[in-house]
């Protein structure tokens, strides 16, 4: 049934297309060259722009220059939020190299426990929009980005790109095709569905903390 519909729909499209003038450009060319549209100007130091826009998107931001410092900054932030020192951590060479004090309980995604705080590393950050890009994998399941109350994300400074299109270039250069889920995340979850009043923490994270790492 569905395949009959497929043929019928495609035939109807073809008929309609033939009625209309053809736009310029071929499909092959477009898919090969992937032309970029007009790019909004992003001026100045990428890190400064990124921080500016992260703050505008209701994130908090910290810096760290060593794995130990990442740990310290996280503990500090969790204490400020009155949150427990317990976190679910995705695995990456950088995050794995953090030595945690005994006071902190750290779990791997495979443990699948409590999601109240998660710690992950971003694939890259986009200065234009103040966003972090997350790719799903066995090391970093998508649910970790959406289930916690407190979402902590580390990004390495050299992985800040200017425009969204630069992130696409990196994905193409460094991965084998698109992952199951690619999330561009810009601040905590929010809703304005009750009287247009913006309220953070709709279904996803209530707080988002970004640590920019540069050693």
């Amino acid at each position: 049934m569905s395949s009959a519909s497929r043929d019928r729909i495609l035939a109807a499209i073809r008929r309609s297309q033939n009625n209309q003038p053809k736009a310029e450009g071929s499909i092959e060319e477009r898919l090969k060259l992937r032309p970029r549209g007009p790019l909004p100007s992003v001026e100045g130091d990428l890190e400064t722009v990124l921080i500016d826009r992260l703050l505008a998107a209701a994130c908090s931001v910290a810096h760290a220059s060593s794995p130990e410092q990442i740990g310290e900054k996280i503990i500090q932030w969790l204490q400020q939020q009155d949150a427990g020192l317990k976190l679910l951590r995705s695995t990456s060479p950088l995050l794995d190299s953090i030595d945690w004090p005994d006071t902190v309980e750290v779990y791997d995604p495979a443990d699948g426990v409590d999601h109240s705080t998660t710690l992950t590393e971003a694939f890259c950050a986009i200065a234009e929009t103040g966003s972090l890009v997350k790719l799903s994998s066995n090391k970093s399941p998508t649910a970790m980005n959406f289930l916690p109350d407190n979402f902590i994300c580390v990004v390495q400074r050299e992985r800040i790109v200017r425009h969204i299109e630069d992130a696409w270039e990196r994905v193409r250069a460094e991965t084998e095709g698109m992952p199951r889920a690619l999330n561009i995340i810009t601040g905590p979850s929010r809703t304005a569905d009750v009287e247009q009043t913006i309220q953070l923490g709709a279904h996803g994270p209530r707080l988002m903390h970004v640590i920019i790492y540069c050693n």
């Binding site: 569905s2 109807a12 297309q17 310029e24 309220q199 279904h203």
Partner: protein
């Protein structure tokens, strides 16, 4: 969903007298308009992006067959499946079938306007599935058993008090007892209730803002993160999308994304912009085991070849609703079906039939604000006029209106007679109005003068004034 568009005039009357609705609309109006304005002020490239977006749509639509096939091929390569639905019934049948095959009992849904268009919830419920909307606005109207009244803010017509009442009626009892006084109280309770639904669902159904032919990805923008939880936690992810949503590449999608959030909510980007490609990879922890895309035609392949083709450029941002004086006065429910406002007045007659929907095209002053703010530059007033022409041709106009219009046209085609009559009429009205300068009642225009006065003509006609100023010469020659 049954359409009630024919009763727009009656529904509009009721809406205008509904104080709660009027308060909610007044609150919403300024917010959307101001936020969009502020966002555009921050983006000097907006006009360039608009031109680029139009070019992307024109290119894609003129190769739609090939791009859809490319998309299908890429979805299959990444382990997903594409299903084609010619009409709402077939789309629902496919979705219900996929849920049955998965032995599903509970289905969570992200907001999908195509889902509303095809009446998906009714079909799933008729198949004994438990369906939960997870976008907060959609959840609210699901509890209220109402259709959405806005394409991006479905519950914009509901006040905080009304939402609290709904929550009390549906949740309160054993688990929830806290009073719901503030917006955070309400949002928090919804979060707790829906968290359990997310975790317990077998199938997640979302819409798509775009389909990427190059990669076989479906793009979804949300602020709440509900779409991502719906897509990521259940065993099966079904995407419902209409065929015009396809764009060639991620780069093309990016151009549209830059316009979408700014035009919709005034954000430069939504909190979450996600691209789903296939089911979970074998080594992944979490993620759906199955990924299905249901492509819905429902008249679009025909629109592609007729006068309404440009309506397929629409990216469903809602800017035309937010700037429409008619929508702003009567709200979305008056339109009687899924899509309200200017874009709805064009789409509805195409989808439910002109005989049922033509009154919507009449309910416009053709002021042109919708076209001016549309990020895709869709000539909405022209398309509305197209409906008017067609309904006149089809004889759908009321006999009295039709004969009056015929009478007017007969005179308007005789300029001398027309001017002579206008001169006489203005003088008469001027005299009747006297010193007051306006008329309280005008014969045969009672419904117009019942809510306002008619300013009386102040002197001669426009043509007479023009001729005086230009010494009888016509500048156009």
């Amino acid at each position: 969903m049954r359409a009630h568009s024919q009763s727009f005039p009656q529904r509009a009357q009721v809406a205008l007298l509904d104080e709660r609705l009027q308060a909610a609309l007044a609150k919403a109006r300024g917010g959307f308009v101001d936020k969009r304005r502020a966002a555009l002020d921050q983006l000097p490239e907006f006009e360039q992006l608009r031109v680029a977006a139009r070019e992307i749509k024109e290119h894609t639509l003129s190769h739609l067959e090939q791009y859809l096939m490319q998309f299908e091929q890429q979805v299959e390569l990444s382990g997903g499946e594409v299903h084609w639905a010619a009409d709402p019934a077939e789309a629902c049948e496919i979705a219900v079938g996929l849920c049955r095959d998965a032995d599903a009992q509970a289905v969570t849904k992200g907001k999908t306007m195509v889902g509303e268009e095809i009446g998906l919830n009714e079909a799933l419920e008729a198949a004994a599935l438990r369906v939960i909307e997870t976008d907060l606005g959609e959840y609210i109207i699901q509890l209220a058993e109402e259709p959405p009244s806005h394409i991006i803010a479905p519950a914009v017509h509901k006040s905080r008090g009304e939402i609290a009442e709904l929550f009390q009626a549906h949740h309160h009892g054993e688990e929830f007892t806290r009073p719901l006084e503030t917006v955070p109280d309400i949002v928090d309770e919804a979060r707790k209730v829906l968290r359990n639904e997310f975790l317990g669902a077998d199938v997640g159904i979302t819409g798509a803002n775009m389909l990427i032919a190059d990669t076989g990805s479906t793009a979804l923008v949300t602020n709440e993160g509900n779409g991502d939880l719906t897509a990521s936690l259940p065993r099966v992810h079904i995407v419902i999308a209409s065929i015009e949503k396809v764009v060639p590449t991620l780069e093309d999608a990016t151009v549209l994304l830059r316009l979408l959030a700014r035009s919709a909510t005034g954000q430069s980007i939504t909190s979450y912009t996600s691209f789903f490609t296939g089911p979970k990879r074998s080594e992944d922890i979490g993620g759906p085991e199955q990924f299905h895309v249901v492509l819905v035609d429902n008249g679009r392949s025909e629109m592609l070849g007729n006068a309404y083709r440009e309506m397929l450029h629409c990216i469903r941002c809602g800017a035309c609703l937010n700037h429409c004086p008619v929508y702003g006065a009567v709200g979305g429910h008056a339109y009687g079906w899924v899509y309200p406002g200017p874009m709805g007045s064009v789409l509805t007659p195409l989808m439910i039939g002109l005989d049922e929907g033509h009154v919507l095209a009449d309910a416009s002053s053709l002021c042109g604000r919708c076209e001016a703010v549309c990020p895709m530059s869709i000539p909405l007033p022209r398309l509305l006029r197209e409906h008017r022409l067609q309904s006149h041709r089809d004889g759908l106009m009321k006999p009295l209106a039709r004969s009056m219009l015929g009478f007017w046209a007969a005179i308007a085609r005789r300029p001398q007679l027309y001017r002579w009559l206008v001169e006489r009429k203005s003088r008469l009205l001027h005299r009747i109005a006297g010193k007051r300068g306006y008329l309280r009642h005008v014969p045969m225009a009672g419904s117009w003068t019942c809510s306002r006065d008619l300013p009386a003509p102040q002197g001669g006609s426009f043509v007479a004034a023009w001729q005086r100023r230009h010494g009888g010469k016509d500048d156009s020659q």
